[in-house]
């Protein structure tokens, strides 16, 4: 499998889409930091808060970037027919699958870490060093990296199933959007307050009316809230939203890596079973 991995990595580093992903990973934090730096200089508003958010800011768009990288990388193997070269010379399908998956893990790690490193260096130099402790920072990076692996595994299973490059890329991109929408919808449902606060207002007749504190009908309760919370926690995008958004590590930070590992194991198992039975052209 090491031979396949070597060949895959050499192709990855030459690939245009990976170079583009790296450009975004490095360029995005630099752009945001410079923007905040100049805004901070010209106005009275403090932009110091950005120092804790910047290093993990890319995590929000990481699943989209990965969907393109994985979709195109795997899709090229089918489109150009080069997956045949690996099978014909005697590599097993499981080895090919794992080598591709590991390559995407490497891609995810490089893209995300380069973003974190560049972001941290720039924000420290121009604005302020991140105030979070090293351990909290390392944990957040670890959780997001694992989330990235989970996304890679899911995208890989789908891409290895769909033999058309264009269709494969579109499907994984749509899936990443679907994950994002689901997570955001659930996030806002869970953020709904239990009560709508009391307020007073004056009507047209000049009378002051007092509206009492009312129960919010959108507030999730009981079993429904538990289910929502569980599903919310399991979706990898949720973990990225929770952890990446200002590096707020939740109480259940040890559960998140477990969920990611679950996604990796299940999607890889399904992907390998499908790929092994697939009739290739």
């Amino acid at each position: 499998m090491l031979r396949l991995l070597k060949a895959n990595l050499s192709r990855l580093f030459k690939s245009g889409v990976f170079k583009l992903a790296e450009f975004v990973a490095i360029g995005y934090p630099i752009f945001v930091i410079l923007l905040n730096y100049f805004q901070g200089k010209s106005g009275n508003e403090s932009h110091d808060y950005i120092s804790d958010a910047i290093p993990t800011m890319l995590s929000m768009i990481l699943p989209f970037i990965l969907s393109v990288v994985v979709g195109l990388y795997v899709g090229t193997e089918y489109h150009d027919g080069t997956i045949r070269n690996k099978l014909i010379v005697g590599h097993s399908r499981a080895k090919i699958y794992f080598a591709n998956l590991l390559t995407m893990f490497v891609a995810n790690t490089i893209v995300f870490l380069s973003n974190v490193i560049v972001g941290t260096v720039f924000v420290t130099a121009l604005i302020k060093a991140p105030s979070l402790g090293f351990l909290t920072y390392a944990k957040a990076i670890g959780v997001i990296t694992l989330c990235g692996f989970a996304f890679c595994s899911i995208y890989m299973a789908i891409s290895m199933f769909i033999q058309s490059k264009a269709t494969g890329v579109v499907v994984v991109m749509v899936l990443s959007v679907a994950f994002f929408m689901t997570s955001m919808t659930m996030y806002y449902r869970l953020q709904e307050p239990e009560y709508n606060e009391a307020f007073t207002y004056t009507n047209d007749a000049g009378e002051t009316i007092e509206s009492p504190r009312q129960k919010n009908p959108h507030y999730l309760e009981g079993k429904k809230r538990e289910i929502y919370q569980k599903v919310f926690d399991i979706i990898p995008y949720t973990q990225i939203i929770t952890v990446g958004n200002g590096v707020k590590l939740p109480e259940k930070s040890y559960e998140y890596p477990l969920y990611s590992c679950g996604w990796i194991v299940v999607s890889t198992a399904v992907g390998i079973i499908i790929f092994k039975k697939r009739n290739l052209k």
Binding site: K6, V89, G90
Partner: protein, 306 residues
């Protein structure tokens, strides 16, 4: 007999469609085996199975005596190379980069052999060196595909329709390359093609496949013996000619409204006399050798869609 590849009642179906039906095939070491069959006969399915791209539904095959379904088959495949349908090349890479990829996949310790391979397939010109494969002509892609297939120094090369879409010059170059690989490098070649005339110039053995079954396997020598000489006649009408042939109980084949082939030795006097009886005029008669194409058509019972 030392066989590189044998198949044993190989069966492959896709839902309701049977692509291969208990196909038996034997490829002798050192031979150039021409696989002949019309569209949908099962040639490419057979090649895909041999190359491990698909699994047979039933039956099996052996490569170098190693049976399919065993873990050793992966090792056996390490000694073969193939170009299945379109050449498997990264279009965004140059010829050298493509070969480096394949060398990495094979785990070769150095890239020293790459210039030799590029030269062997005729892609050594300076103008090609920096060109990405997406800018290659079909012939150049085919040659690069073969170079990749040869990267592992295989003893067995599988080529699926390697001359499809090539210009006449490209066809000649491809033929010479295949012959060179077989004669100078002792590589056994399995080659499928629609262009029977070209195949007849290459193959030492033939396998005729139809509806997923092996109809006949024959060596080029045997084929030559079996290719009957025939008499090509031009007559006033083949309908009347058929009546005369039925009466004489001779094997024949109608070419068009005025032409037919007779596969028998016959006295022209007797033929003319019999044709006269049915009101048919014999305009001309010439002796003609049967080609691989006509042998194939005869074998398949007159189906001309080769």
């Amino acid at each position: 007999m030392d066989y590189i590849l044998t198949t044993d009642k190989l069966y492959k179906s896709y839902r309701q469609f049977t692509a291969l039906a208990e196909l038996d095939m034997h490829i002798l070491k050192g031979s150039i085996y021409g696989l002949v069959g019309k569209n949908g006969a099962g040639k490419t399915t057979l090649i895909r199975i041999i190359c491990g791209l698909q699994e047979p539904t039933d039956g099996g095959y052996s490569i170098y005596g190693i049976k399919s379904g065993t873990s050793e088959i992966f090792k056996a495949r390490g000694r073969m190379g193939a170009v299945v349908e379109t050449p498997s090349i990264y279009l965004e890479m140059t010829a050298e980069e493509n070969l480096k990829q394949q060398f990495d996949i094979l785990g070769k310790p150095s890239y020293d052999e790459i210039p030799g391979l590029i030269k062997l397939v005729g892609l050594e010109q300076n103008s090609i060196a920096k060109k990405k494969a997406k800018n290659f002509s079909l012939g150049m892609r085919q040659r690069l595909g073969i170079a990749i297939a040869l990267a592992g120094n295989p003893d067995f090369l599988v080529l699926d329709e390697p001359i499809n879409g090539l210009d006449p010059e490209g066809i000649v170059e491809m033929r010479e390359l295949i012959l060179k690989l077989n004669r100078e490098y002792a590589i056994t070649v399995l080659i499928s093609s629609h262009i029977l005339d070209e195949l007849s110039k290459l193959a030492t053995h033939f396998g005729f496949i139809d509806h997923g079954r092996m109809i006949k396997e024959i060596s080029a020598e045997e084929l030559e013996k079996q290719c009957r000489k025939c008499i090509r006649v031009v007559v006033s009408g083949t309908k009347e000619f058929s009546q005369a042939m039925e009466k004489l109980k001779l094997a024949y084949e109608i070419i068009d409204d005025n032409q037919a082939d007779i596969f028998a030795e016959i006295s022209l006097t007797k033929l003319v006399s019999e044709l006269n009886k049915v009101g048919c005029e014999l305009i001309s008669a010439n002796e003609k050798d049967e080609s691989l194409e006509s042998y194939y058509i005869r074998l398949l019972g007159g189906d001309k869609n080769a």
